[in-house]
């Protein structure tokens, strides 16, 4: 048990639980409109494009690109280690489908907007936080 900084965690409810526990099997899921196919994040009970009310968690590739990032250099509380990289990742599936994350396995000075990244999960209590790292090049020699 750490005596120092504890990151905040989401308060789980019936709308968001699927999202925050999706990483249990290593797969990123978001709500998708069953009428028009629009991905909806954060979760809401209606599709803003077609006003359809039937939205279901669906599987994403977990791949995207760095839309923006910041290297946080200030420790906001005792025990919070710096630097760390906060990123906005836009997912490949839909323009504007984006989320806040931490960019890992990359030196802060090497992060670039447009960099391809992929999801992995970090479990903390009952939550699987989607994190992102540079995409592994499967074909690399």
């Amino acid at each position: 048990m750490s005596q120092g900084y504890q990151r905040s965690l989401p308060l789980l409810d019936d709308l968001n639980r699927f999202y925050w526990t999706s990483g249990k099997d290593g797969v990123l899921r978001m709500l998708r409109c069953q009428s028009c196919g629009h991905w909806q994040h954060p979760p809401r009970p209606v599709c803003p494009k077609c006003l359809g009310r039937k939205l279901e968690p669906d599987t994403l590739s977990g791949k995207g690109k760095v839309f923006s990032f910041t290297v946080n250099a200030k420790s906001w509380g005792p025990g919070l280690e710096v630097p760390y990289v906060i990123g906005i990742v836009m997912l490949d599936e839909q323009d504007g489908l984006q989320l806040t994350t931490n960019l890992r396995d990359v030196a802060p000075e090497d992060v670039k907007i447009g960099m391809p990244v992929e999801v992995f999960f970090e479990k903390d209590e009952d939550v699987w936080l989607p994190m992102f790292r540079p995409t592994m090049q499967a074909a690399s020699a």
Partner: protein, 391 residues
Amino acid sequence: MSAPEVVISGIGQSAVGRKLPQSGLELTIDASLEAIADAGLTTQDIDGVATFPGFRPDMQPFSPVGSIDIKEALDLKLDWFCGALEGSAQLGAIINAYAAIKAGLARHVLCFRTVKEGSGGASWQESATARAERVRVGGEFQYIFPYDAISATNWLSLYAQRHFSLYGTTREQLGQIALTARRGAMDNPKALFRDPMTMDDYLSARMISSPLGLLDCDAPTDASTVIILSAADAAAGSPKPAIRIDSVGGGIHGRAGWDQADMPDMAAFDAGRMLWSRTDYKPEDVDLALLYDGFSFLAMTWLEALGFCGRGEGGAFVEGGHRIARDGALPLNPHGGQLSGGRTHGFGFVHEAVLQLRGEAGARQVAKNPQVAAVSNGGGPMAGAMLLVRD
């Protein structure tokens, strides 16, 4: 009967500083009585109160005083009042008051913003989350806080970094906004920071969250600022020249989440479109800009959002600092803004706009007899703007 014109008839401001001995309510009383006298009114003339964001028991340094507190303290007889966090940023309170007067619900509305952040617990997000016990959060911030994106500096840095990347904006350009603010603050006795600042000082200040460093961030303070709005006919006997609210803009058309916007776009652009759609004035008619600079990058965003330059051209616009200097084509925040003046949180820009339009700004008065001022508040999904005119 047509809707009345709405004017700013009086302004007032308490002492501004860190760890002031006065309570938030005492500061609010100081600013209110000054503003009421400035307008040539008495407490019994005030029939409306509007404040941002209303009393917040969960974050008292951020908002220690509500509309009811000043009503009770001064025994006001109110026909209309409101205090709300949701709206057109801090200016939402003033825009609400403007609408109330237009609708005939009130004649003289006392609008205030009071902060005690200079006495500690400044950043409510930080004090609420950066601690050694587990916190569970709901709402929008459940998607942001778990990634230790705790501070507004983090949220805005993400917009700034994308602006830098898309448009080639530089730290030196952003620094001109901080340097210009400091030059103004040196002539403002109430400003928090009045020592000279060089570009070297700016660039060597410690990084907070790239690309924003310490001198890109405003500083918490204790202060209360009061703006009195009146129906123009009711203010006809005011001792000071009336400053007419020519146009207002607020609202939001894009995604409203801090991390959901089409960065670097912000609600500011929606406020700008609305502002110019409601007036015959054009950006080139503006003599003076009082643009929100809780972060330097926000003032740059507002320059673009209000059409003083093209989208992405904010860096080039402030390059060298000449255009935005006190004697430049578009003087920016001659009082030092919040960057050097302290976080009076939005209303300080309105206060300064009125002083400048009246010619009462003393050593920092812009020389060209300004008649039209643009004022803005907010960042990210919160934005409000006004065009103020001395007819």
